[in-house]
């Protein structure tokens, strides 16, 4: 029961990760147009068929995976780093610094996050680095809130008090006495963050605010496919199944990870 729940998602994610890493050395031609093959359904020659411009869908799907993983990696890395630092400093210093940071966090939480990301990437030039910027600008808040709450409770722990009594500096305490204990909850948050970012990136690209043609994203592939739903449903189905598979796997792994890292439940 427990094994397949970890194994299947790991295999799905692992194979996508490896494929998207080695994709540039594979004999794939995601931008090569074969006019004779326009909208052709899946066959033996092309496992997933061709899109509306006669481009091989499998190759484009892999390019889309690269986009997804690229964005997810950078957004989660940036927002986790930024959020953790802000949250830890806020809780550690307290007072007016904390008060104002909490207010800023509250303001960010007042926006439906995808809306803020849509507005931001709409104001910027649509390209992949701006997608990373927009999603990070929205994403740091969750990490900051988590890091702040955890640091507040860690502040009163004996080992931190002892470090303070020994005269350790702020940086030293936060880096060596607080951060290591934050890693478990932050990792769980980051895992779910990946799922959220993959969906958000695809959503932005679906709205035409993400990566631009000829680059591929699962979101823009779904959007292009909706025009041909009646005659070529594989154009919508393939990227959608890929997207849901990845998100579902990440969520499943996140669930397991949360249970595994939850010290209370292990006791």
């Amino acid at each position: 029961m427990l094994k397949w729940r970890v194994l299947i998602p790991s295999v799905i994610l692992g194979s996508w990760a490896i494929l998207s890493l080695v994709a540039q050395w594979l004999p794939l031609y995601p931008n090569q147009i074969t006019l004779a093959a326009i909208l052709q359904p899946p066959s033996f020659d092309a496992i997933l068929g061709f899109d509306d411009l006669g481009r091989p869908l499998l190759a484009r799907l892999l390019m889309g995976a690269r986009t997804s993983f690229f964005v997810a990696f950078w957004v989660v890395l940036i927002s986790m780093t930024l959020g953790t630092v802000i949250g830890m400093i806020s809780a550690w210093l307290g007072g007016y610094v904390d008060l104002w940071i909490v207010r800023i966090i509250d303001v960010f939480l007042a926006f439906p996050s995808i809306l803020l990301a849509i507005a931001l990437s709409g104001l910027l030039k649509p390209d992949i680095s701006n997608v990373v910027f927009a999603l990070s600008a929205v994403g740091w808040v969750g990490f900051a809130r988590l890091a702040r709450a955890q640091t507040l409770s860690l502040k009163r722990r004996e080992h931190v008090q002892a470090a303070v009594a020994l005269g350790a500096g702020n940086f030293r305490i936060l880096r060596w006495h607080v951060l290591p204990l934050l890693l478990a909850p932050l990792t769980v948050e980051a895992t779910f963050g990946i799922a959220g970012v993959v969906i958000a990136e695809a959503g932005l690209s679906f709205l035409g605010l993400g990566v631009q043609a000829p680059a591929a994203s699962w979101g823009s592939m779904i959007r292009d496919g909706t025009l041909y739903m009646l005659i070529a449903p594989h154009l919508v189905l393939a990227p959608g199944i890929a997207l849901c598979g990845v998100v579902l796997s990440v969520n499943l792994l996140g669930d397991r990870l949360r249970d595994y890292l939850d010290v209370k439940r292990k006791d």
Partner: protein, 307 residues
Amino acid sequence: MLQLFFARLLSMFGVILGVVTLVFLLIHLVPGDPVQAMLGESATATDQVALRHALGLDQPLLTQYFNTLQNLVRGDLGTSLYSKEPIREMLARRIPVTVLLTLAGLAVAMAIALPLGSVAALNKDKFWDYTAMSFSLLGISVPHFWLAPLLIMIFSLHLGWFPVSGYQNWDSLILPALTLGTALAAILARMVRATLLEVLNEDYIRTARAKGLSHRAVVIHHALRNAALPILTVLGMQLGALLGGAVITETIFSLPGIGQLTVESIQRRDYPVVQACVLLISVSYVGVNTFTDLLYSWLDPRVHYHA
């Protein structure tokens, strides 16, 4: 109670002021020149100066800020760059569709989540629990913009039950509401399950059982009623996701609501309208959350905030 009311109201206005400031700053914080982005790289200097002046971007930042605040207090949201219409009227025309869609999505979510979460909680760690929670996990992982084409393919193209898109009558709202409601239902079902499990462990449930009440009566009258309040709060918090989802859903189904206006205005580079839409959606979200908070403390006398 009155003190709490005013404290919550005050903090709400604080957050709203912050939201207004952030939306105002959006256009300035973003790297690059918004005027150049709007007009494109081939625009003449004269046109750029003219647009800058029309948007008030040639004034000092603080003056712009106070002008914006002043206009907002008067209820003046400015005019659209694209259609030259007052933005307030554009929004007023589109609000009903979004409100209807959101309420319908909420209804769908509740209709799915309540039974699903209850079944899962009452059969904890058994077959039905796993089934319901697997469904819920699936629902969380399927994005709106993929579910919608799937529903259209099945119900509009193959079965022909509902219109593909557009807004004519109630039928046009069914598929969008399903799209919007399913994702929320998935999250909500988990919350219902967790809350109900907590409530079922309470002393008064044991008392009710000891009185000899039937299982059904205990669940409906004692457990679900007490679980209703935490669920209400979660619902308020999830409204943000619902409103965000409405933006994408309206765009897919061509429903003339606020969300579609947002996306259209972004494509037209009509920034004042984009700002107004973002402001409207966020302020409603903050307002509803404050309202649920107050409702919660009014309905449940055990809750005492140290405001």
